[in-house]
């Protein structure tokens, strides 16, 4: 039987370690010798201990005699439901927790090497990262809209710190933009939540869902969900609310961009999935499919066209993130098991791929290469970093046997299945654009001759996490069954399946 402790322990352990990290890292810094090894040791302890409760929860969930669709675990006593906070454990939240922990660990490894330990506030940086992983796992476990909102905003606020770490004028500007956007977004969401609570008397996913099916007057409901959806759409960077993302990810240190694109971006799709699929299905309750389809088409087109026009490589990758939002939305829009499967697969793969490219670009940026012209001939000067960037670019473009291919295949197929062939065609056409600008990048890297031929020494330590993720991209491309088997239980629990 799963207890409240089992559920909260993953979150608590991350938060606890986050607090402990500050004194520990400070102590390590004082020793002045073997600092890297000690830091590595500390964080491997952190992650191996934090992984235990996640594993424990997974095992407990799957060893239940009769698979329950979901498990509601409430924190407060019955009469005060207004203050109650609920965790909901189902296959999807467990999947997300595993993904967040695993991907978080690898991107964390990169940050340890990327953010110089001797720098003053680096301990805070690590601490905030751990805090964000904890919060985002909290998002995955949330069982009601309010808990979801609280954890999500905590994670979003934390990410602004990661963006601001270097405190350059550009990053200040970008973070300010981001903060303004998320504050507007949270205002929208809270407003929407209050209406939902007003008309249904609850915020729990399943309770709201049931209340909605018997609701007669839907006018207020439409307003409420427009607010909620708009709020989360801002945070997921759906066009036309995407403007903050390229700025923020370009100005942030590469380790932050990699971490945020792998966790926060994917988390935002998860939130959209929860709201749309787990509350508002079947779509007859509220006809949102066409609206979302239009937005996803817009996001794919605008994201890819913006990327096509970019000259700064980091910004180009940031725009690929926007395009990815569009592909994820296509999957949500389809409201089919296949689409959700594609979406969950895309979470993981898209997150890993953007993380790899941000990491590789981070190394190159350090060497002073920023624009496409700077990248000329980098393939010969820094073969390993370029190889990683090359493979992630091909994965984005959907070239098998890399993981991005399976993700795109699932997404397009689900669009056809949902009778939205036009959306699939837009997806295909935009992915040709995507292949074009990614290939342009590759062309610069391999075809152009550099101004000077000297080889540059590549930072081996930074390449380790990159190549771990590259190996995952290849493995998941060749043999996707590993992850698809994890996703399969989710598909059987989908609420719109009779």
């Amino acid at each position: 039987m799963i207890q409240i402790l089992d559920v909260s322990l993953p979150i608590i352990s991350f938060v606890l370690f986050s607090l402990l990290t500050i004194p520990v890292v400070k102590a390590i810094r004082k020793r002045k010798s073997k600092t890297t090894v000690l830091t590595l040791g500390w964080f491997s302890i952190v992650f191996s201990i934090a992984a235990v409760p996640v594993a424990n929860l997974t095992i407990k969930y799957y060893e239940q005699p009769s698979p329950q669709p979901f498990l509601n675990i409430t924190l407060a006593s019955e009469p005060f439901t207004i203050f109650s906070s609920t965790f909901m454990i189902d296959a999807i939240s467990i999947y997300m927790a595993i993904v967040f922990t695993a991907v978080g660990a690898v991107t964390f490894l990169y940050s340890i090497f990327y953010i110089d330990l001797s720098e003053r506030p680096s301990e805070r940086y690590y601490s905030v990262m751990l805090m964000i992983i904890g919060c985002i796992i909290g998002v995955a476990f949330s069982g009601d809209l309010l808990t979801l909102f609280i954890f999500w905003e905590a994670a979003a606020a934390g990410s602004s710190f990661l963006m601001l770490y270097h405190k350059t004028p550009k990053s200040l500007h970008a973070t300010l933009k981001y903060l303004v956007m998320i504050i507007i977004a949270s205002a929208f969401i809270v407003y929407g939540l209050s209406i939902v609570y007003g008309i249904t008397g609850t915020l729990n996913f399943w309770a709201v869902r049931q209340a909605l099916t018997v609701l007669e007057d839907k006018h207020l409901l439409v307003t409420a969900f427009i607010f909620i959806a708009a709020g989360y759409a801002i945070e997921a960077a759906v066009v036309p609310f995407h403007m903050w993302l390229p700025d923020a990810y370009t100005a942030a240190p590469a380790s932050s961009s990699a971490f945020l694109s792998a966790l926060i971006d994917q988390g935002s799709y998860y939130v959209l999935l929860r709201v749309f699929i787990y509350i508002l299905t079947p779509p007859t309750v509220l006809d949102w499919v066409i609206m979302l389809a239009v937005f996803s088409a817009l996001t794919m087109i605008v994201g890819n066209l913006l990327a096509l026009a970019q000259n700064n490589v980091k910004r180009l990758i940031a725009n690929v993130c926007i395009a990815d939002v569009g592909y994820n939305l296509v999957a949500i829009t389809s409201v089919t098991p296949l689409g959700i499967m594609g979406n969950l697969y895309f979470f993981l793969v898209g997150g890993i791929t953007t993380a790899v490219s941000f990491m590789a670009v981070g190394i190159l940026n350090r060497m002073g290469f920023e624009t496409l012209e700077d990248f000329s001939g980098i393939g010969r000067k820094m073969p390993f970093t370029s190889l990683a960037l090359l493979l992630s670019a091909f994965s984005f473009a959907g070239v098998p046997p890399l993981a991005g291919f399976i993700a795109k295949y699932l997404v397009f197929t689900s669009a056809i299945e949902a009778n939205m062939g036009w959306l699939a065609v837009i997806g295909v056409l935009t992915s040709i654009i995507q292949a074009a600008y990614l290939l342009r990048l590759i062309n610069y890297m391999y075809a152009k001759t550099p101004q000077e031929e000297t080889k540059i020494k590549e930072p081996k330590k930074l390449l380790v996490p990159i190549f771990i993720l590259v190996a995952v991209i290849i493995l998941l491309g060749v043999y996707p069954t590993i992850v698809l088997n994890l996703i399969e239980p989710v598909i059987q629990q989908l609420p719109f399946i009779p």
Partner: protein, 493 residues
């Protein structure tokens, strides 16, 4: 042994790092290793020949492994007569390309990467032909793309990456439409096995099947370089290094034709065959075939760049193949088309290799500046003339027999469908054009007065590669029985 086909794919896969490491020490050894892998693969594939020829096994040989059950895909490796012929001929071309490269690429840099990419390419190329699972098919289909891109770009002529870029974007754009079609097939049938899907599609909604068919065929046609989506071909083929051109023109565009044959016509088409749309579709193929044949031949007739002449002749020949495919399901025409893919692969491979030999020895590529090379480079001249005549459809060289079979099929089709009268006549005219450009090519380069100072005959390995293919072109012309026997085990329609 039950894992022959799996081994056929595993051998080059595991071979890639070895080829790379060998190449770091000695490029020649790497080339020979690639050739040895190809020979071993041919040996592995030939063990399935008796099984395919045996009627008791329904002329098929299948291996199936666990892969992605949720997506209706297992790792199914499959050969029948046609796919076996294509796979064998592909490996023969890879073998000769590797041997040819020993001397041809001698003074180039980064040969370890080159040979590793060539090995990687061979996985995709062979894989396309020996699978019946659409997902695996698509994997291999795209696996051809990346190595080709880097080989053209890294070791090509003039502005190689420009040509490679064009190649990649065009064929990848085609491929995503293929992907759309495959996705739709999965959605309709829940299975990605070509044969299961075929049965399941028979009961599907015809309107949807129509779109699947069009999307797939359009995608494949890009790889096949049918006019008007041929634009990538002349650049890619002429800027690539000669061994790569031989593979591109020999088997990569052939794979496009094979895919139309196997997937469009084999899997999807039967579901709409009886409808009006089915007829229109076939007529459409015939029209595009005639256009391609004329377009390619006419430009080959006026082109002066040695490799572009051959590149345009490839477009013309894909026109023949497409015309042949439009005659579905006439047995002679289908067998002829499949045989033409084999014959064209060998002849065109030889053609490009010999052109590469000329280019390498002379250092120029304008055929008007050449002349009288027959006396100076006898082996190259013999190979070029053999290839040119085969491409022109002159007996006793390979392509004659297959073109003849296609026309036999065309005349049968005329009996039942009056539409085919005009295309058939036009195709016959195109054959004359192909003879014209072949003779022009020979006259300009090998006959007439010597315009250049003494040119030397090519070194040993280039000679060896060309001689192997000359033997094949002639033997296949005189005795096509081996491949014809294999191909006719497949029944159509």
């Amino acid at each position: 042994m039950q894992n022959m086909l799996l081994l056929t794919l595993l051998l080059p896969t595991l071979g890639v790092p070895f080829v790379y490491l060998t190449g770091k020490k000695s490029a020649k050894a790497a080339a020979i290793l690639v050739a040895l892998i190809a020979i071993a693969d041919i040996a592995l594939l030939s063990t399935t020949v008796p099984i395919v020829l045996d009627a008791a096994t329904e002329h098929k040989y299948v291996e199936s492994y666990y892969w992605i059950p949720i997506l209706g895909s297992s790792f199914t490796l499959f050969v029948d007569g046609i796919s076996l012929s294509m796979a064998i001929i592909t490996l023969i071309l890879i073998l000769t390309a590797a041997l040819f490269s020993v001397n041809y690429m001698q003074e180039k840099k980064g040969l370890a990467e080159y040979y590793a990419l060539l090995t990687l390419l061979s996985i995709g190329l062979v894989g396309v032909f020996i699978t019946s699972n659409l997902m695996l098919f698509y994997f291999c289909w795209e696996l051809m793309l990346v190595p080709t891109y880097f080989i053209i770009g890294g070791w090509g002529y003039r502005e190689p990456y420009r040509a490679a870029f064009k190649f990649f974007i065009f064929t990848h754009a085609g491929a995503v439409f293929v992907l759309l079609g495959i996705g739709a097939i999965f959605m309709v049938t829940g299975d990605l096995d070509m044969f299961q899907a075929q049965t399941a599609l028979m009961t599907a909604q015809p309107e949807l099947v129509k779109w699947i068919l069009l999307s797939l065929t359009a995608g494949f046609a890009v790889k096949m370089a049918v006019v008007p989506v041929h634009m990538w071909l002349p650049d890619a083929h002429s800027e690539a290094p000669a061994p790569m051109s031989a593979l591109l023109s020999g088997v990569i565009i052939g794979a496009g034709a094979y895919a139309i044959f196997r997937v469009s016509l084999g899997t999807v088409f039967p579901a709409v065959m009886a409808t009006d749309f089915g007829n229109q579709f076939l007529h459409g193929l015939a029209v595009f075939g005639v256009i391609s044949a004329f377009f390619g031949s006419l430009i080959a007739l006026v082109e002066n760049d040695i490799k572009r002449v051959i590149a345009y002749s490839s477009i013309a020949h894909m026109g023949y193949v497409l015309f042949g495919l439009s005659l579905f399901p006439f047995q002679e025409a289908m067998a002829g088309t499949a045989l033409h893919l084999v014959n064209h692969a060998v002849s065109k491979g030889l053609f490009f290799l010999s052109a590469g030999a000329v280019m390498k020895q002379l250092g120029i590529r304008d055929i008007r500046e050449m002349g009288g090379l027959a006396g100076q480079m006898p082996v190259t001249a013999t190979s070029s003339i053999t290839a040119a005549l085969s491409i022109a459809g002159v007996p006793p060289f390979a392509c004659f027999i297959s073109e003849f079979l296609i026309f036999v099929g065309a005349f049968q089709a005329i009996n039942s469908d009056g539409f085919y009268v005009l295309p058939t006549v036009l195709m016959l005219v195109a054959t004359v054009l192909s003879l014209a450009y072949a003779l022009r090519y020979i006259r300009h380069i090998f006959l007439g007065p010597t315009k250049l100072k003494k040119a030397e005959e090519v070194p040993f390995f280039m000679k060896l590669a060309m001689v192997i293919l000359v033997v094949f072109v002639i033997v296949l012309g005189i005795w096509p029985t081996f491949f014809l026997d294999l191909i006719t085990t497949v029944s159509f329609g």
